[in-house]
């Protein structure tokens, strides 16, 4: 049994018996100390496992003192319940009409439980930050050293040392590259989860353009064609996260889109959201694989080993208030899509209505900055069916205006 100590602070003759009765009901056997002010709280020599501070009609300063107190680990020191007027969201508050021992007892228990959960949550967030920043930095440094050393070894290798030696050094280089990529991806999702960003206005065309530039060598390598809509909307989101989402979806299409992949990037307005999609003509995905495609990152430990790219997409989309998924379209195409919440969908619908089909823009346009919000592609445009067709199949309930 964990040691619990309750402090009843500033109780009047009328509130004290009620609070005492509630304390006994909530935590039989807990130590209860009645004190006059916050300065007297926590002065005992015995360090309890849990502390609950109950303040009766406190002034703002006492309430703040109680709520803001931290322990030596920098975590909230105790649970706080205020009997009196509402003092903010960080403490349970009970107004006088609810001062009934059984109800107060429930509030005491709930406050202690919330306090424990808050401390645990803060501790786990700290773990995430530590893994994301410190451990991945240290791992990345060591792996980086192996990678660069392998490159140097290859460069200084004499012709008669090549053959199997070179193949082994190449193995080291490739393996360290893979490790570095895993470290990067995992640390990215950990950082995103531990330190959520507030959404900001983002020009989606700019994000897609940068991703296409980054994947230009891959696009050319597999002789892919990427078709784009004539324009892109501005969204509210996190630029860096959107970059990673598009990067993973496009990379996925280039990898699994079959020979000389034909890829279409699309968007449309829905009732209160914007939907974006990457459509390719790769083979259909089996039902068992489909079920685990966008498996949440926190459940990956239960899955057989597979890539983490789409789980990363799922987390980053969810953190921005959207959702993502996969649809097989008309037997020959696959659509990987994600949504983002949108406020002014009527305006976006009008904007989208003023464009039709896709527009081909070269990487030179992107590099020149001559295409502003417009789409960007390093390859020739497709001559596929209307944009609406594929999007409607992905979500038949939402016609495009």
């Amino acid at each position: 049994m964990r040691l619990l100590r309750l402090y009843l602070v500033g109780m009047s003759p009328s509130t004290c018996p009620v609070a005492l009765a509630a304390a006994r009901e909530a935590f039989p056997g807990a130590k209860v100390a009645e004190v006059g002010s916050m300065e007297e709280v926590g002065l005992g020599s015995e360090a309890p496992d849990l502390e609950l501070v109950v303040l009766a009609e406190p002034d703002t300063s006492s309430a703040a003192h109680a709520i803001q107190a931290l322990d030596s680990d920098g975590l909230p020191r105790w649970a706080v319940v205020i009997l009196g007027r509402d003092m903010g969201e960080f403490a349970e508050t009970l107004s006088p009409e609810h001062w009934d021992p059984p109800l107060i007892a429930r509030v005491f228990r709930s406050a202690v439980q919330q306090h424990q959960l808050l401390r645990e949550n803060l501790r786990l967030q700290g773990d995430l930050r530590t893994i994301a920043r410190r451990i991945t930095h240290d791992l990345n440094t060591s792996v980086g050293c192996i990678f660069t050393s392998a490159q140097v070894l290859k460069a200084v290798m004499l012709p008669d040392e090549k053959g199997p030696n070179e193949a082994m050094v190449q193995n080291i280089e490739n393996s360290s590259t893979e490790i570095a990529q895993i470290i990067e991806r995992v640390s990215f999702v950990l950082r995103a989860s531990a330190d959520p960003h507030l959404p900001e206005p983002v020009r989606m065309g700019e994000v897609v353009a940068n991703v296409l530039l980054e994947l230009d060598a891959d696009i050319k390598g597999v002789e892919a064609t990427v078709a784009l809509p004539a324009t892109w909307p501005a969204v509210r989101g996190v630029h860096q996260w959107l970059h990673v989402i598009w990067w993973n979806l496009l990379k996925n299409a280039l990898t699994h889109g079959g020979a000389r992949p034909q890829v279409q990037l699309m968007w449309r307005v829905e009732e209160d959201a914007l939907r974006f999609a990457v459509v390719d003509r790769g083979a259909a995905i089996s039902a068992s694989i489909k079920a685990g495609l966008f498996r949440p990152f926190d459940q990956l430990h239960m899955m057989p080993a597979r890539g983490i790219g789409l789980s990363l997409v799922q987390r980053l989309v969810a953190l921005q208030g959207g959702h993502c998924g996969y649809k097989r379209l008309d037997g020959s195409s696959s659509s990987f899509y994600f949504t983002l919440p949108a406020e002014d969908t009527r305006r976006l619908r009008r904007e989208q209505g003023s464009f039709d089909g896709r527009k081909q823009v070269s990487l030179k346009d992107v590099a020149d900055g001559s295409c502003e919000d417009l789409p960007h592609s390093g390859a020739t445009g497709l001559t596929a069916g209307p944009l609406e067709d594929a999007m409607d199949v992905a979500n038949p309930a939402q016609p495009v205006g």
Binding site: N140, T141, V143, V152, E184
Partner: protein, 135 residues
Amino acid sequence: MNILIVEDHPRIARVTEVALDLLGCRAFTTHNTADAAKLFFTEKLGAVFLDVNLKGESGLEFLSQLTAWDSRIPVIIFTAKFKGEFAEEAQRRGAFGCLAKPFSLDDLRRQLTQIELYHGQRGGTLITQEGRDNS
């Protein structure tokens, strides 16, 4: 070209030194900013390669110090990938470029080409102790 490497991780420092040597440069390696400051004022340098995560020291603050001493010296910072915040802050403080870890010989070669171009545009002269004294 003489290059000053400021990197507290000895193996990274060593492999960077060997790689730079392979690419025709002469590297001076230090593991802290105090030694780096001494070399900065005693050697003729073409560039500085600086780690932003130095043990117990701020590489970014040292970057500001370097550019305050001599704004003409190209400083390349080592960063981890996806550390956009460091790259932006380093740029604000006058960094010439970023080299994301893990870096390849080609990455290093590209940075050196940029540095050579920069010096070429400045008249082909490397930044020397005398130059710093006169600036």
